[in-house]
């Protein structure tokens, strides 16, 4: 077991420093790059916070859907292949629900301000 602070806390500390202390000092293209950098750190923080739980739920759904076991990457590859071959489609029970849940979990990390995501979230996740 590694010591603390946790990666989440450390990443957040760097983002806070850049936002509060460095942002006021620079302008122009460098300021734009700094905003991108802060966005990256915030994304990483969200992923570190959510990934373990969302991956576990995704694996559970994929095992049920596909009837096989594997890592989240292996199971995604298997699902992609079955859709490509036409063995699984939107009439397959659980597929639409699985893709929606998985995609919502990705947007929660990648772009929580994306308008389509906020709209779907307001429907109840």
């Amino acid at each position: 077991m590694q010591d603390e602070p946790t990666p989440i806390e450390l990443t957040k500390a760097v983002a806070d420093f850049l936002r509060s202390d460095i942002t006021p000092l620079i302008s122009g293209h460098q300021a734009f790059k700094l905003r991108v950098a802060i966005n990256i750190l915030e994304l990483v923080t969200r992923q570190l916070t959510r990934e373990k739980e969302s991956d576990a739920a995704e694996v559970e759904r994929l095992r049920t859907l596909l009837g096989i076991d594997g890592s989240v990457t292996e199971l995604n590859r298997a699902l992609a292949e079955r859709i490509a071959q036409g063995e699984v489609d939107l009439t397959t029970p659980g597929l639409a629900e699985h893709l929606w849940a998985t995609t919502m979990d990705k947007l929660a990390v990648d772009q929580p301000n994306y308008a389509s995501y906020k709209r779907e979230l307001s429907r109840g996740g």
Partner: protein, 328 residues
């Protein structure tokens, strides 16, 4: 330094011009650059734009029509009354500026978020969807016997090409697989009529003023194909910049777009438009993957490029909203 070459160039083809000032690079990758500058003239400064591939960068990416074709298309559009900058000069070797062209600078805004939010464009916004329909009708009617040589692409070929691009990323994405299946199942086949297709007609590639669309830019993906492709692409959610209930670039409805197109004497096929909107959404998603790949392997190791890889999920939710919508 570029001002010296530009000054020598304008002296040759712009009667009365004595030089240039204010040259500034607006955007530029390794192979293509855009510069703004003013031509010094006794009647007052003339705003101009240079689009060029610097010396040593002649080869265009495979999908691009090339700068020569772009200049020809913009000039044709200008002559036909499609809002477009006037092309003033096509570069020749003696200009020593590489390959490309110089066009008249059209004042206005291209930044989509400003156009959608700033007060200055408030009066124009409700008119834009219909106006865009009329502009696309004019663009699709440009005389084919005057067009430069362009690649020809139909729906079936595009599906094949995107599938190949996607598989080469080795990036298993069940939602993209679903979209590819849907596209193959709904492939409308060859269009009843093949026309010029702009290929990147969207909010962001239009110069807009308080009076509406002033110019259509970025003709580099122009090709021959199904005119409904342009109507579908302009509706892709990525180009609505948050205004998701206004499919046409965040400006207005499909009905307004279609009405403007049909009022200009051309017919809309809504099923084909939907097909191309799905295709366009997937296309942008795969392009995000391509940027991620270039970030990993290529010379552009920038943070911006890395983050575009994380925008592919935006197209996944938009594809699900198109193909597997949830009850409202």
């Amino acid at each position: 330094m570029i001002e010296a070459e530009l000054s020598r160039s304008v002296a040759r083809w712009c009667p009365g011009a004595t030089g240039v000032t204010g040259a500034a690079k607006l955007s530029g990758g390794a192979s293509q650059e855009t510069w703004r500058f003013d031509i010094v003239h006794p009647d007052g400064p003339i705003g101009a734009i240079l689009r060029r591939s610097p010396k040593g960068y002649g080869a265009a990416p495979t999908r691009a029509a090339g700068l020569g074709a772009e200049a020809q298309l913009m000039q044709l559009a200008y002559e036909a009354g499609v809002p477009s900058p006037r092309v003033m000069h096509v570069l020749t070797p003696e200009d020593e500026l590489g390959t490309g062209f110089i066009m008249q600078r059209v004042e206005g805004e291209t930044i989509a978020r400003k156009i959608l939010r700033d007060e200055e464009y408030a009066a124009a916004r409700p008119l834009l969807a219909r106006q865009i329909g009329g502009i696309l009708a004019g663009l699709h009617r440009l005389p084919q016997d005057k067009l430069p040589a362009l690649r020809s692409r139909g729906a079936t070929q595009e599906i094949g090409e995107f599938e190949r691009d996607y598989r080469s990323l080795n990036w298993p994405k069940p939602v993209f697989e679903l979209a590819l299946r849907w596209l193959r199942d709904h492939d409308p086949g060859p269009a009843a009529e093949t026309t010029l297709v702009h290929g990147d007609f969207r909010n962001g590639n239009l110069i807009i003023g308080s009076d509406g669309v002033r110019a259509v830019l970025d003709w580099e993906l122009a090709h021959l194909g199904d005119p409904m492709e342009d109507l579908g692409w302009v509706c892709v959610n990525s180009w609505r910049f948050g205004e998701i209930d206004k499919p046409v670039g965040g400006f207005g409805t499909r009905e307004e777009l279609f009405a403007g197109y049909e009022a200009a004497g051309r017919k809309v096929d809504p099923a084909r438009v939907k097909f191309w909107e799905v295709m366009g959404t997937l296309r942008w998603g795969i392009m995000c993957g391509g940027m991620m790949q270039r970030f990993r392997e290529g010379p552009d190791h920038s943070m911006e490029r890395a983050m575009i890889g994380r925008r592919a999920s935006e197209t996944e939710i938009d594809l699900l909203r198109l193909l597997a919508p949830r009850g409202s």
